[in-house]
């Protein structure tokens, strides 16, 4: 997020696209509700009529995978009607001309024709966003989990930069991260191409710095993204994988392929708090400690580094993750000696500029928001004030790309996936909580009543859903939350593992798979 969570309530205009905020980010949705109470205008773009859509002044139900047409059409109106912030565009951005030319053909009328959203609505939303004093865009996986995920994000950045809606309080671009510490994991280099603080693996100076800090020589090449690892494992090129706190057998697309890939490995280690579906395939399982049993920090979606404290001792012989990593590294011949999580934080501050001023002493209380480069820096509630980190902000002219897989006569429905309020990810934790199982014990595929009638389906009927990759059995829930032609299911339930169906086609830049669109057929089971 370029802003802080608490700034949401003070904005004048929220454009929320591809985010089912009330279910997936319930606490942040409370801030959205506060904003609405303060008179903020809310526009929600989502194929599904979510609770957010019901709260909205305007709901745009565009087809899954057509975001670039919508976003470019908004940019088209903002440029054609000269609603953009000329001073901001002049002083702080580059490539405006290129954007202008590219979005020229994405007129509201073109959008109306292609994605069925009325030209008037698009104009109204563009004007509302551009003319607002303080405006925010919220987005999540509905934007990123497409083969054009990176381009979708760039198109959002275009809108914000056009209107100068960035770098001010309650004004900015806010991707809501999906987990308590996914921001922290990325910040710490849990990605194939960067060291902590997004310092590039291929940069020689950076590599020298880390070689010196760690006293080893480091591989100069980028690693593999998770999808690429699975493909390489399947082809026998990757021999061993060490998985920590992740359950790819349920969470990765084309789950059958993932399971086969993992089975082909020579050696699989899984470190987790439970015996997950993935752990069951492992050669060795290392028992980890849960959040209440360890010290350290979580960095949340607003870049806030927060202390976590060990409240109880690890159950049985389970250990904190950092201790296990040290033991494994030491056993492998690299003596890794840290006394505590705090000891590691000191090293993080030394080698990570954006965390340079963060110490455990300063994290007492509500934590610090990075960038926080020095001991006397107060932290950064919102990013890009006055200038962009890279200097001038570049507009990126991005063209619409259709989803990798489109419907046809054999697979006539679009399947899109997401989460439910009651469960979390692959259910490793939430499905072991009795109360949640009572509340939401099985997944049901959302299908529009029109489609259900055509297929002769009634509420609760069992169906077989098949894509080109796999098939599952699942009950249906007939609801107009989904438009005709689209069905929706969550990935929480192993009994109806929706990712057996999803398409592993990836965005070429970010390597994120297209979880949000795949073609399926539905057949009633007796």
């Amino acid at each position: 997020m370029t802003n802080s969570i608490s700034e949401i309530k003070d904005t004048d205009f929220i454009f929320a696209i591809g985010t089912n905020t009330t279910e997936t980010h319930p606490i942040i949705s409370l801030e959205v509700k506060k904003a609405i109470k303060n008179g903020t205008k809310l526009v929600v773009a989502d194929p599904r009529k979510t609770e957010m859509a019901e709260l909205a002044d305007i709901h745009i139900s565009h087809p899954s995978g057509s975001d670039l047409i919508l976003l470019n059409a908004l940019a088209n109106v903002i440029i054609t009607e000269e609603l953009y912030d000329k001073e901001f565009v002049e002083e702080r951005t580059e490539n405006f001309q290129e954007l202008k030319e590219t979005v020229q053909k994405y007129t509201p009328e073109y959008a109306e024709e292609t994605i069925g959203i009325s030209a008037d609505t698009i104009r109204e939303v563009a004007r509302g966003y551009a003319n607002a004093d303080k405006a925010m865009i919220l987005y999540t996986m509905g934007i990123t989990q497409h083969i054009c995920g990176t381009d979708n994000v760039l198109a959002i950045a275009n809108l914000a930069m056009l209107c100068g809606h960035i770098g001010k309080p309650s004004t900015g671009v806010n991707p809501l991260r999906g987990q308590n510490n996914v921001q922290g994991a990325c910040d710490m280099g849990g990605l194939p191409n960067v060291y902590p603080g997004y310092q590039k693996v291929v940069d020689e100076k950076v590599r020298e710095k880390f070689e010196k800090a760690w006293g080893v020589s480091l591989n100069p090449n980028n690693g593999l993204s998770v999808g690429e690892m699975m493909d390489n494992a399947y082809e026998g090129k990757v021999k061993g994988i060490y998985i920590m706190g992740e359950n790819p057998v349920l969470s990765d697309p084309d789950a059958n392929h993932v399971e086969e890939a993992l089975k082909k490995l020579d050696f699989l280690v899984v470190q987790d708090i439970f015996l997950t579906e993935t752990a069951m395939l492992a050669d060795v399982v290392l028992p980890a400690a849960s959040f209440a049993e360890k010290d350290g920090t979580f960095t949340n979606t607003e870049r806030r580094v927060q202390r976590i404290r060990k409240a109880i001792n690890p159950v049985g012989q389970s250990k904190e993750d950092w201790e296990i990593i040290c033991m494994v590294a030491t056993a492998m011949g690299y003596p890794m000696n840290y006394d505590s999580a705090e000891d590691i934080m000191k090293e993080i501050a030394e080698v990570t500029p954006s965390y340079g001023g963060i110490t455990y002493r300063r994290l007492e209380g509500d934590g610090l928001q990075w960038p926080c480069p020095t001991e006397d820096h107060p932290g950064t509630p919102y990013l890009h004030k006055g200038r962009f980190a890279k200097g001038k902000g570049s507009f990126h002219a991005v063209e619409f790309v259709p989803p990798n897989e489109e419907t046809d006569s054999e697979y006539p429905f679009v399947l899109t996936t997401g989460r439910r309020l009651w469960h979390y990810h692959t259910g490793t934790m939430s499905r072991r909580a009795d109360g949640l199982e009572w509340k939401y014990p099985q997944e049901k595929l959302e299908i529009n009543p029109e489609d259900a009638a055509k297929l002769g389906l009634r509420e609760g009927d069992k169906v077989k859903v098949a894509s080109r990759r796999g098939e599952i059995e699942i009950a249906v829930h007939c609801t107009d939350r989904v438009p005709p032609g689209t069905v929706f299911g969550s990935f929480h339930f192993r009994e109806s593992a929706i990712n057996k169906l999803t398409n592993p086609a990836r965005d070429p830049k970010a390597k994120i798979p297209e979880y949000k669109v795949c073609a399926v057929k539905i057949q009633k089971l007796a």
């Binding site: 308590n180 439970f274 849960s290 976590i308 939430s430 109360g435």
Partner: protein, 312 residues
């Protein structure tokens, strides 16, 4: 902000214009009892327990909804105030089960605290009492309307913090009660069991079912942790008895960041004692997992057994 001069219990005090008598008294170190007031919620002025005496005013005004003004002379514990509070408490207790011996909230109940503070032993009013059925239709919240004092905190918390509007007032006079739409059980309402109402209930009318019967309040040790189940990473309190976590509650003492408890975070604590939790490293031998020591899992068992043989 302008400041105004007032006196509280004879002591001159300078306070910010626009704040309430309750806030000004709190800042000056005087603890006025409150039941319906909550700093994170809108002003309500229903319970009247916070009444004070203000020179020149005809009645005893409720301090939580009375703004201070220049020259105000306030008495927070005068004889008239104490008498009024005792009567209010007596009226509340007249229709409240006297089962503090076994009530889960004993030790964490404002009604109990204030009855003690004002030594309200004998209730001189006797009449009809409520006999509502207990709503324990769900695994999360027990709703016991017999203990409800109609302070309306839960109604405001649900509406103002969560925006859910599950709870509301129904009926009139003696029959007034807090209930869900169409007076259904929680199970059949749209409640998402976030427990915000439980966290604000000053008595035992809305209780955390998980912790029911597991510990007295004074036996609990509270430890604050950051939740691991969404991007917000809220803080909440683990309630620990004899080293075992028995439940989770909203972090105490942070009314301004209030309303953080949600269902997923609270329930994550159940996981700690789940039997599926591997407690030792496991190695797959002939297709079956076998628990082993860390040394064996790390491949050091041979090395260690050798070293041990040297010692001999």
């Amino acid at each position: 902000m302008m400041s105004v001069k007032i006196t509280i219990n004879g002591r001159p005090v300078i306070a910010q214009e626009g704040i309430t008598v309750l806030e000004a008294s709190k800042q000056a170190g005087y603890d006025i009892p409150t039941l319906c007031h909550h700093p994170a919620l809108s002003e309500f002025g229903a319970c009247r327990l916070c009444v004070v005496e203000i020179k020149g005013m005809r009645n005893l005004p409720a301090s939580c909804v009375t703004k201070i003004s220049e020259g105000m002379e306030i008495q927070t514990e005068s004889a008239a105030v104490v008498e009024a509070r005792k009567t209010i408490l007596e009226l509340l207790l007249a229709n409240h089960p006297s089962d503090c011996l076994t009530c889960q909230m004993s030790g964490n109940c404002k009604l109990q605290d204030y009855a003690y503070r004002y030594q309200v032993r004998n209730v001189s009013f006797c009449g009809e009492t409520h006999n509502y059925p207990l709503d324990d239709s769900n695994p999360y919240i027990i709703r016991d309307n017999n203990k409800c004092i109609l302070c309306g905190r839960c109604v405001r918390a649900c509406a103002e913090i969560k925006g859910e509007n599950i709870l509301g007032f129904a009926s009139r006079g003696f029959n007034t009660k807090i209930t869900t739409a169409l007076d259904k059980d929680f199970k059949d309402s749209d409640c998402v069991y976030c427990h915000t109402c439980v966290a604000v209930c000053p008595v035992g009318a809305l209780r955390n079912k998980e912790m029911e019967g597991k510990a007295r309040y004074w036996e609990l040790e509270k430890k604050t942790v950051d939740c691991g189940l969404c991007e917000n990473a809220c803080k909440f309190d683990l309630n620990i008895k004899d080293g075992k976590v028995i439940g989770v509650s909203a972090k105490e003492g942070t009314p301004e960041r209030f309303g953080q408890p949600c269902l997923k975070g609270r329930l994550a604590v159940n996981l700690k004692y789940n039997p599926d939790c591997p407690q030792k490293p496991l190695i797959k031998k002939d297709g079956e997992f076998v628990p082993v020591s860390w040394e064996e899992a790390l491949g050091l068992d041979e090395l260690i057994s050798k070293m041990e043989s040297f010692e001999k």
